[in-house]
């Protein structure tokens, strides 16, 4: 057991020193700039592929994935606005929201 404790102490010291060293390395511009550029290049390729696929669907007169996503998002926004309206109407009618009604009932 003492052997394990000794090894563990050594490991902790090594881990801490290595983590600090790697953090310093990962922060240098020599690592960051090329990594960022490589990632961006891969992403650009993927974005271009997405754009071309969307164009192909468009040419066939079909909605692209992006079109469908936009439509679903608009539906979500619409639902959110309806919720806004419902809550405003409840307040204007003096009924309050569900919890407000609960509070009202409690005080009555």
């Amino acid at each position: 057991m003492m052997l394990w404790d000794l090894w563990k102490k050594g490991f902790d010291a090594w881990e801490d020193a290595t983590a600090r060293y790697l953090e310093a390395v990962l922060k240098t511009s020599a690592v960051l700039v090329p990594s960022g550029a490589l990632l961006s290049a891969i992403l650009k390729l993927k974005a271009e592929r997405e754009r071309m696929t969307a164009q192909l669907w468009g040419a066939l007169g079909l909605p692209s994935r992006r079109d469908q996503e936009r439509m679903l998002h608009l539906l979500n926004q619409l639902q959110s606005r309806i919720t806004d309206l419902e809550l405003t109407m409840q307040q204007q009618r003096g009924r309050g929201t569900e919890p407000e009604r609960m509070l009202e009932n409690r005080s009555n």
Binding site: E23, E50, E69, M71, L72, S80, P99, L103
Partner: protein, 345 residues
């Protein structure tokens, strides 16, 4: 003593051999009800203790968007929400849910103004003063600070848990986000939402030796069943990440790169956001060994707000461990509960 060490050793071996068959820990199990849901997000209210509430002002917990909300209700005995309920608080948590492809168009204003605003409005409606205490954790803290600065009306008090406000710090995340060759717009064009896999890889790189260190820690304390349950609960949570809405991230990244919060260059729904407009009772909690949010970048908020009633607690520990550990149950949680208890009306 020798007998106890031998017993621990045999338990360690037994537990290690049984790891593949170990029951998965139950996470996020405090009794609760969904009081509102909209798009993917939900407002959850924890059921109060049998003897009823002890405080009149409800509490809204706002976690980060990139992790699951149940870090604040990890498992029985390691749950901030459970502790607060036991103290008599009326506790709500905002579960941001899982964004789908169409949510790439959700903007910063949609999330920080509309959704957070609605959650706050619904929570505060449960109090007679029409306000709620708000706690923001990590990225959730950035959102709560911005929301409180622009829309202070319903915030009774604000607790910022490891939430950065100065983004130009000496941390790795800050260095990566500010790398000019990293093109955020291209990433959003390519993926729509920021994939959780990409974010998880980035977080792993914050401490590349962490996986090895965790494995050694597991070997070291495998004899302790309580430790193993906590370890696997935290691992379950740590590997249960969600993607980030693309448009939201575009604005978030710009705020990060330009340090918009401290420069007063941020807006919410068209209104300027000045942290100096935060005047409510305020508590900032920072952690000494936080390698995700360097504590100085979170503590900076103390110099930027106008609250006269403000406190800063600086604790040992890391970004997650210090919030869900046993020491949190003895130190951090009672301090947070006490802060709200003193300001209850």
């Amino acid at each position: 003593m020798t007998q106890s060490i031998a017993s621990n050793d045999s338990k360690r071996i037994w537990n290690l051999l049984g790891l593949p068959f170990r029951k998965k820990p139950l996470v996020g199990v405090s009794p609760s009800d969904v009081v509102h849901h909209e798009n993917k997000w939900r407002l959850i209210r924890y059921r109060s203790r049998p003897e009823g509430l002890a405080f009149r002002t409800p509490v809204l917990l706002v976690p980060s968007l990139i992790n699951r909300h149940y870090v604040l209700d990890l498992m029985p005995g390691k749950s901030l929400a459970e502790y607060l309920v036991a103290q008599g608080h009326d506790v709500f948590v905002l579960d941001w849910g899982t964004p789908e492809n169409e949510d790439r168009y959700l903007t910063f204003d949609d999330i920080c103004d509309r959704y957070l605003g609605r959650a706050l409005r619904l929570t505060s409606a449960y109090s007679e003063r029409n306000q709620a205490h708000v706690l923001g954790y990590c990225m959730g803290g950035i959102l709560t600070a911005i929301h409180t600065a622009a829309r202070p009306g319903r915030v009774a008090s604000l607790v910022q848990l490891a939430a950065p406000v100065r983004f130009h710090d000496d941390g790795l995340l800050s260095a990566w986000m500010r790398t000019p060759s990293f093109d955020v717009d291209t990433m959003i064009a390519a993926y729509g939402n920021v994939p959780w896999q990409l974010m998880q890889s980035a977080f792993h790189l914050l401490r590349p030796t962490l996986s090895l260190s965790k494995a050694v820690g597991l070997l070291d304390r495998a004899w302790n069943d309580e430790f193993l349950d906590g370890f696997f609960a935290l691992e379950t949570w740590g590997n249960d990440n969600v993607s980030l809405p693309g448009e939201f991230f575009r604005r978030f990244a710009r705020m990060y790169r330009d340090d918009d919060l401290v420069r007063n260059a941020m807006t919410l729904g068209g209104d300027p956001v000045h942290l100096a407009d935060i005047r409510c009772p305020f508590l900032a909690v920072t952690f000494e060994h936080d390698n995700i949010v360097p504590w100085r970048s979170a503590a900076e908020v103390m110099t930027l707000i106008s609250s006269e009633d403000k406190q800063h607690i600086h604790l040992p520990g890391g970004h997650v461990g210090a919030v869900v550990s046993k020491s949190a149950a003895r130190g951090l949680w009672p301090q947070i509960s006490g802060f709200w208890a003193q300001r209850d009306r």
